[in-house]
């Protein structure tokens, strides 16, 4: 219950939605799936801008890219046939581990990104897959890479703006390793890898991402460097992941030290799976 909400807007155009979001008169916020907002009792929110009428919920193929509307739900991603062509389906698998079905059916991918639900493996999977995020603000639309989005920080990158879609490149191979106390819990740590290889197996681009180590998922450039230009075999998988130098934090789920160790273990396993 948001006690002080007085207006509920159902804009029919993106421009209208952006204008409402930039209103100087009232404090409006964007309503995607609403799963996090509905649990809040924030007294400062005066209006809700429902994106439900903007047709942002599709997942479709456009050329070499898969385009995911920002209101697509984790359950849509999990069931999507199109995503199977992207890095061995790791985005869909990560979406399938987003909390529980009754939330996967309502949350939105845009909401997960913007609300900093970076603990979700989906957020790490997106960084591993790479891609571009389209954001509509009062100066029009802009796109940025997922890397740029996380570098700037979600709230800065999409300040008073609306994430409309994600565009990701089809193809590539991928692996996803996760460690969690229970299946529907937030992961203690996850490791996700995307490899794009030449026809002879030489790695053209490697994206190795750790989720859950800090507030935002991070790429492990050192590991990626060791992989680039080489062909992955079990020895390289072992060698490249031996050292996984990332910053980690501790909380009640696990200590920083444990997370650091697990980053190496899970990355080794992800690479080993791809080396087979």
């Amino acid at each position: 219950m948001l006690p002080n909400v007085r207006k509920f807007y159902r804009p029919t155009s993106l421009e209208e939605a952006v204008a409402l979001l930039n209103s100087e008169k009232e404090r409006n916020v964007v309503l995607g799936g609403g799963t996090q907002l509905a649990l809040s009792a924030h007294p400062g929110i005066e209006g809700l801008i429902d994106l439900g009428g903007l047709g942002l919920d599709k997942i479709e193929r456009r050329g070499e890219e898969i385009v995911i509307g920002a209101r697509a739900r984790p359950s849509d991603l999990f069931r999507s046939e199109l995503l199977r062509d992207v890095a061995d389906n790791i985005l869909a698998e990560a979406a399938g581990n987003y909390l529980a079905e009754v939330q996967r059916n309502r949350a939105s991918i845009g909401g997960i990104l913007i609300s900093c639900a970076a603990w979700a493996d989906i957020a790490a999977a997106l960084l591993a897959i790479g891609g571009r995020i389209t954001i509509a603000g009062k100066d029009g639309e802009k796109t940025m890479t997922v890397d740029e989005f996380y570098e700037a920080g979600p709230s800065k990158a999409a300040h008073r703006a609306i994430i409309t879609e994600l565009r990701i490149r089809a193809g590539g191979r991928g692996a996803y390793q996760r460690l969690a106390k229970t299946e529907t819990d937030i992961s203690i740590l996850s490791s996700l890898v995307r490899l794009d290889e030449e026809t002879d197996g030489t790695i053209r681009e490697a994206r190795v991402v750790i989720g859950g180590a800090t507030a935002l998922p991070v790429r492990v450039r050192e590991v990626e460097e060791k992989l680039r230009g080489k062909r992955l075999d079990p020895a390289l998988a072992e060698e490249a992941s031996r050292d996984c130098p990332i910053e980690t934090v501790g909380d009640f789920r696990a200590s920083a030290d444990y997370r650091r160790k697990m980053a190496a273990v899970l990355t080794k396993r992800a690479l080993a799976a791809l080396a087979k």
Partner: protein
């Protein structure tokens, strides 16, 4: 004994379960369809005119004295009607433990105290026209706290150097209470000479086992609605396991006559011990008495974790010795429980760490048990399924596993060699009861051997033991344990039942027994139906309303099927006699020549009268009467159910993660009145035990504040986490139980911790002695070993 023979019913009755028509059959659960259809059934599924919504203010500090409370700003919130706190309520020292009278728990609690003793302790209640107003007003209460030093470690708490948590003058203790040393309770017993006996043993296994906090997590939070009826009596509809104790304790705290309070228990959304506690009833009732208005008070999930009750954390130190033939000759157990800020169930839980475990191996020369419950400034312990047994069995069954290893014996064999058997007793029964001396008893049923054999066979124990070690980082292992519990508290727990014959020849069964989801309404209806030779549809159950049903201690101590079932069976046997005598009048035959079969009274010469004819005659025709019978039951014994549990695990030696691959629970619960519900009791208890073993924990910051007090952060297992669990109900017959039944509610929560710990040892050779076995803690143990 005057109980020996009542109305054709021997206290110990030998029956052939194969002849049972209703007992032992999976009848439809009497409340099942209504629940499946979501009909309004629970406390909060009803509203009242002029209902007030109440919310609690709880303490942010672990230990503080309240200098003053300023409610000015809170009262100014629109819609606020009533605020109660330490300075406008009377401090009646009591215990919240819903136990029999006098409760074996210290009187160390008042409704709102001038001292708070843990984060989450009750400070005040606000009742308002809307819940939002109550929440806002709670935020606006200003409390002036004088913060006191706090103590969080139970060993430190009783060291004599720690801050005193209960310094109140009106403290009233129980066995072993010494509040100046933060001792809530304690007991010590020695049979034989323990040190000598241990020295004589060829092998000894020793260890310290640590179990932490856990929450019951019933899906329905504590919920309560109170109002005044047309005679100005206080009516409290509440989610409780103990309606009659709730009435008595509420009367005590509110200084009312017991007769002026009515407690109604509607359907209850799970309890597991959490609702054996009287926390909300008198607060809600106090608001209603002050305002004259109905009041609703429902705990938030966070309050469930920190303000309601928990499992008592324990440190259990154990030494178990055996001779070279594997006979267990000496057991020494020292249990220190952390009862938190109040001593609710403090004595009895820690006592049961010994009394529910030590009799299992009864061929000892000496047994020593010391139990102490320490106050700390942490959340309050309470009753939780297993009730000390969970804590004691972790230590005992891991130590026995270690003994078997040292002796080169199969873990099953050492148990078979040592466990108590039918026709045997244990000196421990007499020495240790629940918070006092116990009751001697000789077992009349024990199928633990069959549990061990059938469980091992289903599990593939012997085949799996021969398996070569696994290659790679993930290692599999197997482990097992043996268990016993009790069926009610002997010579304390009492239940009563009333049967009324309806005009159509069906029956209404009135019981104080408290179905909290366990299925006891169904099970008790089956017992009545079996005795009265009618299908269960002919038994309409009315349960747990202090105005309308007879007394019952409530749903705890694995008592309902055995104790309440005993009362129902007795009342039904009386009804049999009554029906036979009315039929005898109708047929001009002495009632001894009439028996009941298939819903009819049948004479020796083949005449029969259906029950509806008998009822109509009794109601309307001749020698009119309403056929009503009542009976009470208490038991001089507490026949233990037995179980053997088997676990297979996979330990990931790189991450420390344990996965349960297979789990078998073979259980002797006597005759299972409703086998499916009995299996459900076992499966639910096992899964709860597994998640307690592997993941569930309270994490506190340095100030005693729980940092994971929500279902987002304290995860209980979902359907995706369920490992294969197989339950085997082993044929057994307990002559003292109703139609051969014993209990099944608690026993199976005690197995997963030792079975998994023993399996982990088999897999990777480390003995885990502290739960939960989280990935990080297991990895640390693996690394420590090197």
């Amino acid at each position: 004994m005057d109980q020996q023979k009542i109305h054709g019913m021997d206290l110990y009755e030998e029956l052939n379960p194969k002849t049972f028509r209703t007992v032992g059959h999976n009848v439809r659960k009497v409340d099942g369809l209504g629940l499946a259809c979501g009909l309004p059934a629970f406390v909060d599924d009803e509203t009242f005119p002029h209902l007030l919504h109440a919310r609690l203010l709880t303490s942010p500090h672990a230990h503080a004295r309240i200098r003053s409370i300023d409610t000015t700003a809170a009262e100014a919130v629109e819609g606020v009607v009533c605020i109660l706190h330490a300075f406008n309520t009377e401090p009646i020292r009591h215990t919240t433990a819903g136990q029999g009278y006098p409760e074996p728990s210290p009187y160390d609690t008042v409704m709102f105290d001038t001292k708070v003793r843990h984060v989450g302790d009750k400070v005040a209640v606000v009742a308002a026209e809307t819940e939002a107003a109550a929440v806002e007003a709670v935020r606006k209460i200003r409390v002036d706290y004088e913060i006191l030093p706090a103590v969080f470690d139970p060993e430190e708490a009783i060291s004599g150097e720690a801050p005193v948590i209960h310094d109140e003058e009106d403290f009233s203790g129980v066995l072993g209470s010494d509040p100046k040393r933060n001792l809530a309770a304690g007991i010590e017993a020695e049979l034989g000479k323990i040190d000598e006996a241990l020295q004589e043993c060829a092998v000894v296994a020793e260890g310290r086992y640590d179990l932490g906090y856990a929450q019951h997590c019933p899906l329905e939070p504590h919920s309560c609605i109170s109002y005044l009826d047309e005679n100005d009596r206080l009516v409290i509809k509440t989610a409780t396991q103990v309606p009659f104790h709730a009435r008595r304790i509420t009367a005590q705290v509110l200084k009312k006559n017991i007769r002026d309070i009515r407690v109604i228990k509607p359907r209850v959304g799970g309890g597991f011990g959490a609702k054996q506690e009287v926390i909300l009833e008198y607060i809600c009732g106090a608001v209603t008495l002050r305002t004259g208005r109905p009041c609703r008070l429902v705990m938030t999930r966070t309050e469930e974790f920190i303000t309601a009750r928990t499992r008592h954390p324990h440190i259990v130190k154990i030494s178990v010795g055996a001779d070279k033939d594997g006979m267990i000759r000496a057991i020494k157990m020292d249990a220190l429980s952390n009862t938190g800020a109040y001593g609710s169930h403090g004595l009895t839980v820690v006592c049961n760490a010994g009394s529910k475990t030590l009799p299992l191996y009864n061929k000892t020369k000496a047994v020593y048990f010391r139990a102490r419950a320490a106050y700390t400034n942490l959340p309050v312990g309470g009753a939780y399924r297993g009730y000390g047994g969970t804590q004691g069995y972790f230590a005992l069954e891991c130590a026995v596993d270690e003994l078997a290893e040292k002796l080169g014996m199969d873990p099953i064999e050492i148990r078979k060699k040592n466990h108590i058997r039918e026709g045997e007793g244990s000196p421990v029964f007499a020495v240790l009861g629940e918070g006092k001396e116990g009751i001697e008893q000789t077992l009349k049923s024990c199928e633990l051997d069959a549990c061990l054999d059938r469980g091992a066979e289903a599990f593939g124990w012997h085949e799996k033991r021969k398996r070569p070690p696994d290659e790679g980082p993930v290692k599999r292992g197997i482990g097992m344990c043996a268990l016993m519990q009790g069926s009610g508290i002997p010579e304390i727990d009492m239940a009563a039942a009333t049967l009324r014959m309806n005009e159509d020849g069906s029956f209404q069964l009135r019981v104080g027994a408290t179905d909290i989801g366990t299925g006891s309404d169904t099970v008790l209806a089956q017992i009545a139906a079996e005795a009265l030779t009618v299908p269960v549809e002919k038994i309409q159950v009315v349960s747990s309303d202090t105005d309308h049903t007879p007394f019952d201690v409530g749903a705890y101590a694995s008592s309902t099927t055995y104790i309440s079932g005993g009362a129902v069976k007795r009342a039904a046997y009386k009804m049999r006699d009554l029906v036979a005598s009315i039929a005898g009048e109708m047929l001009n035959l002495p009632s001894e020549k009439i028996h009941l079969a298939d819903g009819k009274a049948v004479s020796e010469d083949g005449k029969s009268l259906p029950f509806d004819k008998i009822a109509l005659r009794a109601y309307y025709s001749q020698n009119q009467q309403h056929p009503i019978t009542s009976a009470s039951f208490y038991s001089p014994e507490s026949p233990p159910p037995f179980a053997a549990h088997f676990a297979e695990v996979a330990v990931d030696t790189e991450t420390g993660q344990i996965k349960v691959l297979d789990y078998v629970a073979a259980v002797d619960c006597g005759v299972a009145i409703h086998p499916r519900l009995a299996e459900g009791q076992a499966e639910g208890a096992v899964l709860n035990g597994i998640s307690y073993a592997l993941t569930e924990e309270y994490v506190f910051d340095g100030n005693g504040r729980m940092v994971n007090s929500s279902f987002s952060d304290y995860k209980i297992f979902s359907m995706r986490d369920l490992p294969p669990i197989r339950t085997i109900l082993v044929d057994s017959f307990e002559p003292s139980g109703p139609f051969g039944a014993k209990s099944i509610a608690e026993i199976n929560i005690n197995g997963p911790i030792p079975a998994i710990a023993n399996a982990v040892y088999d897999a990777v050779g480390i003995r885990l002695k502290r739960i939960p076995f989280t990935p990080e803690s297991v990895l640390a143990a693996l690394e420590e070993r090197g």
